[in-house]
Symmetry: C2
Subunit: 244 residues, 2 copies
Amino acid sequence: MSGSYFAERLGDLAPLSDAEKAALARLEERERTLRRGASLRRENDRVGELFIVRKGMLMASMLLDDGSRQILRFLFPGDLIGLSGLAYRESPETITALSDCTVCPFDRAAFAELLAAHPRLAALVIVNSQIERAALTDRLAALGRTSARARVAAVLIEMRNRLRMMDRSITDAFVLGLTQEEIGDATGLTAVHVNRMLRQLEEDGLIAREGGRVHFRNEPALAREANYVDRYEKLDLSWLPPAR
Amino acid sequence: MSGSYFAERLGDLAPLSDAEKAALARLEERERTLRRGASLRRENDRVGELFIVRKGMLMASMLLDDGSRQILRFLFPGDLIGLSGLAYRESPETITALSDCTVCPFDRAAFAELLAAHPRLAALVIVNSQIERAALTDRLAALGRTSARARVAAVLIEMRNRLRMMDRSITDAFVLGLTQEEIGDATGLTAVHVNRMLRQLEEDGLIAREGGRVHFRNEPALAREANYVDRYEKLDLSWLPPAR
DNA sequence: CGTCAAATTGAAAATTATCAACGAGAGTGG
DNA sequence: CCACTCTCGTTGATAATTTTCAATTTGACG
């Protein structure tokens, strides 16, 4: 019972030593709560802290000159926020709570020390960031080369899978927790068009909706349309030395 | 005269010790040449090696089910290829030479050893991958939320800046080295529409073209339209311990 | 000279955005 | 409990952007 969500995430990649678990646990000693809609960090804010998500859902987004918004990524418990703070003085993205949230803030310097003291954890942090990178490139390809309908389907599947990682009881029905405007900001569409695409998916028998709940009625077809690839699978960490 | 391009890249971020330089140089002991159009690696290929670009230009792309292609990133000398190979058994992306190229292959295990032996280099690798990540999110926002014209302008500026990193004599005129189809695959547009956008930029006096050469005639306006942010600037590595 | 990839152009079609309006439901203050 | 306001979802009509299709044209090169 380390209580460390980040250790759990990295531990899914490779077994951790007690010393490593203890080091990770120190990152989550403090807590901070956020209400839905609150911003943890705004674009161009000075960065000094990183965070690990403990509870709830957040998003990373960028604001464009014309006022439109692009959601880059959804953040769930165990996710690391602000790794870009290791490189930049100012945050390249805005982090906003999509539900009431708890996050664990820790200092950039503390994280740097941890990386230096535990090279194997540094390697796992690199691996973890590569998984995120793969998810980012999938989204990129979706925005560039797939239809509105496919992009909306992809968001539905992605959200279900991420929610399922925390709660295995979720199978084909779940509470989405996003407004249609937010889906639009993630997929590069207008809220109006997202609405039409959801309706279309429903009329075609791929999903059902009631309130905020989504029900997958034909998941294989949905996954096919969405070009979906699970980036938390097919990992290969055989090169990693065993924990000491 | 380390001759190591990757050491030069990381050395731009922070001064390196001789031991660190020597370790990085060992990654570039072998060489491999590629002709334009050749694939260094295909999607779903088994990965075992990583590469550092020494000469020429390559691209990372994904192929979608319908046969369309999305270019994720352009690769220039000093760039590290295949960091995702640390996480995955199979490559999530295809790497193709856009010009005749030289790359330096090295084994995943050798890289893992280097990270373990030089924690400070591991930190710099993380920083370097965060810079790439920021560039990726910029492209994502561009695809999701900007016009075709803005996306084409962004590719022009990005290419000029990357070329300029290698050759400071390049200012406002350069050989693009991409077909209009390739620009389309990077921007999520058809070659036909890329052509129209280039023409429009030319007619509006923002650029001039002759053969494969592009000339910026109004760079501020071009940068404004493209929403351009230089992700190799505004870095802050003050948390990094000094080289030993 | 012939060939082939790449660039160019016009016309029509498809996709997606914009604008405008309305309805349902959740809070809120009186 | 009742208006009132707000956000969110829904729908229709119209406009803008981008794609598709179909020719040409151009330039490099064997």
